[in-house]
Subunit: 405 residues, 2 copies
Amino acid sequence: MKIAVQKYGGSSVATTEKIKKVAEKVIKKKEEGYKVVVIVSAMGKSTDGLIALASQITDKPDPREMDMLLTTGEQTTISLLSMALISKGHRAVSFTGSQLNIQTTSIHQKARIKDIETTKLLKILEEDTIAVVAGFQGVTEDNEYTTLGRGGSDTSAVALAAKLGGKCEIYTDVEGIYTMDPRKLKKAKKIGKITYEEMMEMASLGAGVMHFRAVELAHKYNIPIYVASTFSEKKGTIITNGGDISMEETLVTGMASSLEDIQVTLLNIPSAISSLHRLFGALAEAEVNVDMISQMLTEDGKMNVSFTIPKTDLHIAEEIVDEWKREDNHVQWEVNTDIAKISVVGLGMRSHSGVAAKVFKIMAQHGIEIKMVTTSEIKITWVVDVRDELKTIEVIGSEFGLEMA
Amino acid sequence: MKIAVQKYGGSSVATTEKIKKVAEKVIKKKEEGYKVVVIVSAMGKSTDGLIALASQITDKPDPREMDMLLTTGEQTTISLLSMALISKGHRAVSFTGSQLNIQTTSIHQKARIKDIETTKLLKILEEDTIAVVAGFQGVTEDNEYTTLGRGGSDTSAVALAAKLGGKCEIYTDVEGIYTMDPRKLKKAKKIGKITYEEMMEMASLGAGVMHFRAVELAHKYNIPIYVASTFSEKKGTIITNGGDISMEETLVTGMASSLEDIQVTLLNIPSAISSLHRLFGALAEAEVNVDMISQMLTEDGKMNVSFTIPKTDLHIAEEIVDEWKREDNHVQWEVNTDIAKISVVGLGMRSHSGVAAKVFKIMAQHGIEIKMVTTSEIKITWVVDVRDELKTIEVIGSEFGLEMA
């Protein structure tokens, strides 16, 4: 049985008109000889509407009840899409996460898929019925409704494709994965193929199109993902393993930039491993996601530490540092909120040293100050002043061939 | 365990502000020492909004998918009400029809409750947690979501009260059951107590507040229902068995009037039992709900038959009669669309003959023509010209003591 799992995001099903067009696209796939499973998100901004309703009730909605509320969003879309498919003369059946028994852990609002029961699904696919499945949601052993958190519908799609042994197609409002967000680099190129690892790095940098967890899952089960535009026939991007991608070809596959972080620098803290443990232990315990870290000893036996955290976590970091300052009045801190975090990602870096050196050279040539840098196997990340963001993107994009010819 | 089952209709939970007020009312009941089960409908006109969405997709939405769509309405309300209860410091858990295993037949959009699994419910009530249950919905053996049709939430409430052995309170936007719709009889009285049988007759006449099925179920299990206003402390109406109601007191408990019917008269049809069978058999098969029937033989061995049907079924009746007319050109028909159907209901009629005679006398005294009449054990129904509707209500209301002193 040739199975295709298609996922359509919120913007693709934002109106009933769009849902009818999605139905046509689904039917086309079926007519190509595939048994089709369609995963859909909630319509457009309807999830935001539900969140707003909850916030009118209370500042801190109960997580279980929040999942009860949010799961109605996809349930609305699956019913409407099924109606559209049926009205066009095809058999279709919708399923909530609970009905399909998409088993998850029991952590509300960020549950993780444990398994999916496919007997029922395979039976209806064999009968040539289109299965329309609510993304983003699952159910616990106790029949409690859960949601998967951000990017959840992508994860639902990949998990179903893995479980059914089908191909996975993610349809969205962009035409694929670009070397860089085209809003920031006008001439950014669409990438034909990208590896899971590169995509995971891009995703974790907030490149938007695909969520990290979904790519991670696809990687684990080696499920190729095709990302393309819902309402265009243009060729999209395939996310796959490196096997058939010539690693020699490009050093850098893509670039990302984030304005979501701040740089915190602690000065004159005691130079002992216990200091680092205390600092980052406390941040971890408060669930502050520390990204870049750089540390330097000073001449007087003290230590300076610089790190980046999400802007939204500033007040938590502040509390932790304030406590420390009360104990040791040598400790000082500086916060820089006007930074851009730039990253380049590329599997080619593995076999080519000198990518970092090339970055430094380009930045120096253009007189852009690097405030902090970290490197990993396939990624280089550095911090610049926010005013240098677009210039950095331009010169790096040009020098590493990320633009259209 | 003292259990109270409260039901709040759509207008009572139309906004988040109203939901918060409902939460306070629920908490008050709990603080009176009750374990509380709350049944809610979809918020305000949200079900209409969902139906409109479906109609944008197709003229004939698939019934299964329609139920999938509509069940999101109550699911939204239960989550918001539970959040409100929790934010006020009480334990609350919401349940969809599926989660609570409200087992129904599998006829979508008009399923009937078969049974309710109460183990889970009793357990959480024992823990002093408030159970918030989606009304109007259930689930089949195959975990297919169903809805109960009009008045479904009332039925859910009565069924739960019956199953749990609790009291049943229906909160709505009116203060109780009135002798007559106060929009039509300004001085209509609120009824303190009314029997199931009277209420069923009133409900089937479209008296609005309570649906027939819910009252029928309450009657079957002898569950008293208290109907009152959500946002007022005024005493409402108790629907109960006749045991503690003095039947001598009133001949007529209430009156209803409907403009939803038309009167069809067939002239010169063959005077044979097979004619009646043919006519009403065909109407029944086409699911036309025939209410009043009156039949009269003519001098030339033919028969005239007059009956009332809902306005919306006119075209179906027309098709049936047309076919007959093609076969027998003696058959003629007349349709009167400008009629009002007036009914008086009262358990007292059982033991007091002459209520019909009194109706005829009053009508004659005021010169109002009766076009058709039928009587049952506790109800008299007659048809008048629509222009005579309000005058009829006024004189009958006054003569039978249906007005406030």
